[in-house]
Amino acid sequence: MRIPRLSLDLPWMRGSGRRPGPLLPLEDARSAALIFVMAALAFLACMAAMGASAGGRAAEGWARDLRGEATVQVRPRADETPAAAAARAAETLGGVPGVEEAAVLERERAEALLRPWLGEAILEDLPIPQLVTVRLTEAAPADARALNRALAEAGLDAVVDDHGRWLADVERAARVAGLIALMVFLLTAAAAGAAVVFATRAGLEARRDVIEILSLSGATDRTVAGVFQRRFALAAGLAGLYGAVAAAGVAALMRLAGGSDGFTPALPLAWSDLLLVSPCPLVAASLGAVAARWTTLRLLKGMA
């Protein structure tokens, strides 16, 4: 849009390369407070995501261990010693498809397992059952039914424990941990959204003069909303970046301190977990943009 020349020709002004200033003031104490709050929330969300990933890995590892093993308790026949029955069971189970290795659990090893629970004194008099530990193949592990069938066909009286009960507990715990992590993430996202909504409302109220002038100059609600959307998307994105970097830093320190365990066996952080924080700035910026736009349009509608 051009206006006709009034009196002066100032060709030196053409192409002056001026960049228009921002329609909202840049400096704003609320922005600093908002960035701090959102950065803290982003930090929590990133830690929750990494914690969920590490927790999931731990649960998966435990489940894999449980799935990969079975324990067989052998009851010897009257004409057979317990050791012989156990040896025969181990031999039988070793030939079952899906079994990698089956070995008799020596009495010394069984006592070593029980010693922390029962102490030294009574172990010698304790009738310890004859156990066979079975290591199953990872690709196609044999199930309890196959093991039972093989033992029965060999004429062995035995009880197979495929750790199914523990496996179900571990898997349930992993699911619960995952759900909790998801809830923490959703809660922090909702809190961040609410922070943007409050900040946008405060910003609109504080900049009512600017908004009125923009509106009276012909700015549409979408234009005004766009101004706030860009401002809060930028602030939220920046906060997301700060939170993500802080979370990645803390996780890296935990990983370094934890050595080969990651951090603890229950939380085996991997370096790859740090990559989970990478979408955080973008997610935070998107959240900020959506919340600011929605709030602005809603409030402007109320002002009209």
């Binding site: 006709p4 009034l6 060709p11 001026r18 009125e212």
Partner: protein
């Protein structure tokens, strides 16, 4: 102060830019600040609006620049009924109106240049396209050396000139000015009035609210007078 007159501006326009019929305005439950206003501003007309403080001048101007809607009666701007305007229509209508506020209402965080360019920017103009026009108008109102200054550093007169530059920047069809020369010296007041007259000559409809009855009388332009919310005279 005498205002340059132009016979073209006083010729009878063909269409009405503003038509108010039986218009009343009240804020909340308070008594009406405007009552039974009947007013027609033809296209290309130039009117002064006078009245004592509290007579309703600012409220009438608010109706004209679409910052308020009448609580009764019918208001038409550019042939369209104001009460029927949707939220999508208002911005486009407002772009056809330039307003000089008594308190200037400049944006303190923008330079004088960016303040003046605001209507063009909002209308979707690009800086490189309007830079020369903005610079030229600012030069014309005597702000050539203050283009990069921020409003808080400008004097009252400079702010007023900047407010006028912003109001006329996009060549609006309707120019509404509330005491546009109250803070400038006599020479600058004449110069600014010449700008309004020039824009009126180019087709803009102009309404200038003023306390200065002498200025209004000497202008030779029609004078509207408000008295306690009623339009007393349309000469």
């Amino acid at each position: 102060m005498s205002i340059p007159n132009d016979p073209l501006a006083t010729s009878r326009p063909e269409t009405a830019v503003v038509q108010l019929e039986g218009v009343g305005l009240r804020y909340g439950d308070a008594p009406e600040v405007l009552r039974d206003i009947d007013l027609t501003l033809p296209k290309g007309s130039f009117h002064f609006l006078t009245g004592a403080s509290g007579a309703g001048k600012s409220s009438l101007l608010k109706l004209l620049y679409l910052a308020a809607r009448p609580t009764r009666g019918t208001a038409r701007l550019f042939g369209r009924t104001v009460s029927a305007l949707g939220s999508q229509d208002l911005p486009l209508m407002r772009r056809r109106i330039g307003v000089v506020f008594q308190e200037f209402r400049l944006l303190d965080h923008l330079t004088a240049f960016d303040n003046a360019a605001l209507p063009l920017r909002i209308a979707g103009g690009r800086a490189r396209d309007y830079a020369a026009d903005v610079a030229e108008l600012l030069t014309w109102v005597g702000l050539r050396d203050r283009m990069d200054a921020y409003p808080p550093t400008l004097s009252g007169g400079e702010k007023q000139r900047l407010a006028i530059a912003r109001a006329v920047m996009a060549r609006p069809e309707l120019i509404i000015a509330d005491e546009p020369t109250g803070s400038v010296d006599q020479d600058m007041a004449v110069r600014l009035m010449r700008l309004f007259v020039e824009l009126n000559r180019l087709g803009a409809t102009v309404v200038i609210a003023t306390h200065d009855n002498a200025l209004a009388r000497q202008s030779g332009r029609p004078v509207l007078r408000l008295d306690r919310g009623r339009l007393m005279r349309e000469a």
